[in-house]
């Protein structure tokens, strides 16, 4: 974290964002060297001559650097940061999505907090996060460790595993909808009465389906992350363990798992923050039903704002979502005992 914490302004950055910092290793090792060339005239007190001759040119260089960053900065500022401020502001207004926006103080917030669907949606988000993590993490690690072997067929498996990630959530939801059809779906084809359930009409079964589909879609992604990480574990560690007589299972628990610690933090952060925003799958699959059994907070936000025309209340729900997301991401980092877990894919 040396590079990050020494740079001004980074203190204000939430740990969740810092967690996203490039494989922290890269940040640590190369920012100083990258800055070294241009930093020298500004900071090296022992080289006044160099500073005199290179000063103006350095300034020009800095100016052009800033110009290069300008388009991205402007775009990001206006269309990503401003909406973040905007959603907080809008949560203190009433707006039906078409007419005038009226400042109404805390009305939207009290509305949001007194609706039972809000609390229901919040509880479902917690359920989603916890269940997703418990289901996907062990399986991803197991698969990742398996795929890390060097045989060619394992690479082929990795290619096939990746396929669900290519499909849009809409396509996946539509596919599973017909797959689960009690009359024309899998249950009928495999002749398994156990499968012949009212999968999407039962408030409990629908969650089994939902968690399974999300696992189907995202386990491959986390598997890939773990596969990459396991391959980076030095072979010598396993060889030493073998000499000591450790079996495969023992090796897994004593070497592989501990070595995966930071990957676990990365993957968990992504999983947890991702689980907060599942929307399209649920929207296409159940529309929040049956009843409100799957009306998870993000979906509730959409339905409240864009179907119920209560944009103020929807904004309040959105603010909650941001707060939960940040605290969860932060919490995972804390649990991991390091605030720089390094993820390239956060927020993906």
């Amino acid at each position: 974290m040396t590079a990050l914490s020494s740079s001004p302004g980074s203190g204000a950055l939430p740990a969740a964002a810092r967690a996203g910092a490039d494989g922290a290793t890269a940040a640590r090792s190369s920012t100083p060297s990258a800055g070294a060339v241009s930093d020298a005239p500004l900071s090296a007190a022992g080289a006044p001559t160099a500073s005199r001759t290179r000063g103006p040119r350095e300034e020009r260089v800095q100016l052009s650097h800033l110009l290069f960053a300008l388009p991205a900065l402007a775009f990001f500022g206006v269309f990503a940061l401003l909406p973040l401020v905007g959603v907080v502001a809008l949560s203190f207004t009433s707006w039906n999505g078409i007419g005038a926006i009226e400042f109404t103080g805390l009305t939207s917030w009290t509305d949001a907090l007194t609706r039972s669907t809000t609390w229901h949606g919040l509880a479902l988000v917690v359920l989603m996060v916890v269940a997703t993590w418990l289901l996907q993490t062990p399986l991803s690690i197991l698969l990742g460790a398996f795929l890390a072997g060097q045989q060619r067929y394992r690479n082929l498996l990795a290619i096939l595993y990746f396929l669900p990630l290519l499909l849009s959530s809409a396509a996946i939801a539509i596919t599973f909808k017909s797959l689960l059809d009690p009359n024309f779906g899998l249950a009928n084809g495999l002749d398994m009465p156990l499968l012949r359930q009212n999968w999407l009409g039962d408030p409990v079964l629908v969650w089994v389906v939902l968690l399974f589909i999300i696992a189907w879609q995202f386990i491959p992604f986390h598997t890939l992350i773990y596969q990459g990480a396991v391959r980076q574990i030095p072979h010598t560690m396993y060889e030493a363990a073998q000499i000591d007589g450790a079996g495969r299972v023992r090796q897994f628990f004593s070497i592989t798992l501990p070595q995966l610690k930071y990957t676990l933090i990365t993957s968990s952060t992504l999983m947890v923050v991702g689980a907060l925003t599942y929307f399209d799958i649920i929207f296409v699959l159940t529309q929040g039903g049956p009843g409100i059994a799957t009306r998870i907070l993000p979906l509730d936000m959409y339905l409240t704002g864009f179907r119920g025309n209560e944009m103020g209340v929807a904004s309040a729900l959105a603010v909650m979502l941001v707060v939960i997301g940040l605290s969860l991401a932060l919490g995972v980092q804390r649990l991991g005992g390091r605030d720089s877990s390094a993820s390239q894919m956060e927020g993906a």
């Binding site: 494989g23 990258a34 650097h65 999505g97 396509a171 899998l186 933090i265 959409y302 956060e346």
Partner: protein
């Protein structure tokens, strides 16, 4: 090393879990509506029915395909260029100025896109861009920047600074160094980002749902969704639409897999 039986067994089981739904979609898309209702759902039935494909193509599929291509290109090209230039200035600029810039973009990684849709909706309306394809590109570019910059900047850091010094001696400007030296060297990272963001754009559902209205502006995922509503009783046609909408992205994956996977696994925790 002993064999990993548990992992192996589960690995092959998972392969079945992954492939079964895909197999189901493929065979169902080639069934006629009458054989769909009459045949075993998990077995293919002959003769193969290509009329589903025709039906999908007649339902304006090409327009939605074109829309998706336009939105993906209009998102990814400016996104990669902007992210590259910003990464260049972050990596090559001094820390005093660019530390905060970097931190600002990292902050973006922690923003759940979904939480910002109401203000984005408002902005797009006020900019008179509601129900246009451009409306879909703008937020996608903005929210694609942080991750793209992260990946590209990581790659740029590995460029030996001697190369830049050599170009300094030749009297090159920063602009020339950026495009003639840095750009070709980090091309793999740029392709990684491009493939990944194309995937994101191609599968995006939320922005099209909120920022467009008319059928003419639909991209594939949204078209798929409304198509399913219209053809609820003709599952084979819907499955054919699923297949057709996925073909382009599977082709892209076939081409960019190497970059996508390496970009995804590299630096995800050491």
């Amino acid at each position: 090393m002993q064999r990993n039986w548990i992992g192996g067994a589960f690995g092959w089981l998972w392969l079945g879990v992954v492939l079964l739904p895909i197999y189901f979609v493929l065979i169902t898309s080639l069934k006629s509506i009458s054989t769909y209702f009459g045949s075993n759902p998990v077995l293919p039935s002959l003769p193969l029915a290509f009329e589903n494909v025709t039906a999908v193509l007649e339902a304006d599929f090409t327009r939605y395909l074109l829309n998706s291509i336009i939105v993906a290109a209009g998102t990814v090209i400016p996104l990669v260029l902007m992210a590259f230039m910003a990464s260049y200035s972050i990596v090559r600029g001094t820390r005093r100025v660019f530390g905060p810039v970097r931190s600002l973009f990292l902050l973006g990684l922690a923003i759940p896109v979904q939480a910002t849709i109401v203000p984005i909706y408002l902005m797009i309306i006020r900019m008179h861009m509601y129900d246009s394809l451009v409306a879909l590109m703008i937020p996608a570019i903005a929210f694609g920047l942080p991750l793209s910059i992260l990946i590209i900047a990581n790659s740029l850091r590995d460029v030996p600074k001697e190369l830049f010094e050599a170009m300094d001696i030749d009297g090159s400007t920063e602009w020339q160094k950026m495009w003639r030296l840095a750009f070709p060297i980090v091309r793999p990272a740029l392709i990684t980002v491009a493939v990944y963001q194309t995937l994101m754009s191609w599968n995006g559902f939320l922005f099209p749902l909120i920022l467009t209205q008319s059928p003419e502006q639909r991209t594939l995922p949204l078209a798929l969704w409304s198509f399913q509503g219209e053809y609820a009783t003709n599952v084979p046609v819907v499955m054919a639409a699923v297949v057709l909408s996925s073909i382009p992205i599977v082709l892209l994956y076939a081409f960019g897999r190497r970059y996508l996977v390496s970009g995804m696994t590299a630096g995800s925790g050491k």
